[in-house]
């Protein structure tokens, strides 16, 4: 009777072993798939990030070119008279009225800071194997979405007022080899605006 009970032991043991090994290897395969998915998401994120960096570069160039206009736009956002001399002992009164603040000059300044005005021209360069198509819905490009003065201070070196501004650009990319949808990424950079004497 005892022998009869032990008769079917080998097959359940084998099945259990096969089951355990299968679970182990399937979990390995799943982990690998997840790692692959993470790698592709990382690539898409970097592609959108560098498009946003392109927007930051364009914004910095425009600020370098039109630094006075940028400073004045920042002053108007803060409610400061743009013709006020920011040098020497000319301190601004601290009771700024909210009613005199306007972002209009800043908005005009940002009008052409996007790839809609200056489309990315290098998408198809390098041959068909490396072409990055623009989809109707998902496009390669960027847009500078914010130019905000966060704070300001008086420089110890020349006594001029320096405005600390944050430039934010939103980049978008679309790589059909790795994703069915586009990816967006935001980049913010802090800069100083000051009115040069010249």
């Amino acid at each position: 009777m005892k022998n009869l009970r032990r008769k079917g032991l080998a097959i359940p043991l084998v099945l259990m072993f096969v089951f355990v090994v299968s679970v182990y290897f399937f979990s390995m395969a799943y982990t690998r798939t997840e790692t692959r998915r993470q790698g592709l998401a990382n690539l898409n994120q970097r592609q959108a990030y560098y498009m946003a960096m392109g927007g930051i570069q364009q914004a910095l160039l425009k600020i370098r070119l039109l630094h006075r206009e940028a400073y004045d736009a920042g002053s108007l956002i803060r409610g400061i008279c743009p013709f006020f001399n920011p040098y020497g002992d000319n301190l601004v009164a601290s009771d700024l009225s909210a009613s005199t603040k306007t972002p209009k000059a800043r908005n005009i300044f940002m009008t052409d800071l996007n790839s809609g005005q200056l489309p990315v021209s290098i998408l198809n360069d390098g041959g068909a194997d490396f072409a990055m198509p623009d989809d109707d819905e998902f496009k390669w490009g960027y847009e500078v979405t914010e130019l905000e003065v966060s704070t300001y201070y008086t420089s110890a070196t020349d006594g001029s007022v320096r405005q600390v501004a944050k430039v934010t650009a939103l980049g978008s990319s679309y790589d059909p080899r790795t994703s069915k949808t586009g990816r967006r990424e935001k980049v913010t950079k802090s800069i100083e605006l000051h009115r040069k004497i010249q």
Binding site: G8, R32, L65, I108
Partner: protein, 187 residues
């Protein structure tokens, strides 16, 4: 009874071996795929890091010089467990017209606080579209700069990084090249 027990055990062993071989063979094949896939993932991660380092270097450290940045033929490097070849393509971007705000002059407000009513102030803020070359020339002239070194230029940059795990054949290239695109300004 004892003889029957032995016979059944033999059949069980045969069945067990059959079941195990049926289950293990695809698992071993899958394990081999997972192993090569892991190597491939590691190489792709190294290639992506290489591409990002290169783009960061171009955007943050390199001087604005499209001829110096560009590398239109394959350059070969090794990094960690990966064979890498890369190209850098550069294309200047024309920026013909620039929109700028123009603020109509009014006398300086006392204590620096803007006192003009917002409605009137906004009427005095105008949008003007100017030719970049003209603004560029004015700025260069006003600041007394060397125009050849202080131009206001933009270019598009495309970094293509092709990769394969070290020790594999060249046919492994071109499976999933990494492409990064950005825009560089002369700052």
């Amino acid at each position: 009874m004892t003889a029957r027990h032995r016979g059944v055990t033999f059949v069980e062993i045969m069945l067990g071996v059959l079941i195990m071989s049926m289950a293990i063979l695809p698992i071993v094949r899958m394990l081999s795929g997972v192993s090569s896939g892991t190597k491939s993932d590691r190489s792709e991660a190294e290639a992506l890091q290489f591409a990002c380092d290169m783009m960061d270097n171009i955007l943050m450290k390199m001087e604005y010089n499209p001829a110096q940045i560009a590398s239109p033929t394959w350059q070969i490097v090794e990094r960690g467990h990966t064979d890498i070849r890369y190209q850098v393509l550069v294309k200047p971007v024309p920026w013909p017209a620039i929109v700028k705000p123009v603020i109509r002059y009014h006398p300086t407000c006392a204590n620096g606080v803007e006192t003009t009513p917002v409605g009137q102030l906004e009427d005095d803020i105008l949008s003007e579209t100017r030719d970049l070359a003209t603004i560029d020339k004015e700025t260069v002239d006003r600041l007394g700069l060397d125009a050849s070194k202080n131009d206001f230029d933009l270019c598009d940059v495309k970094v293509i990084v092709d990769w394969k795990p070290k020790g594999t054949s060249d046919s492994e290239f071109m499976k999933n090249p990494i492409i990064l695109i950005s825009r560089k300004a002369r700052l």
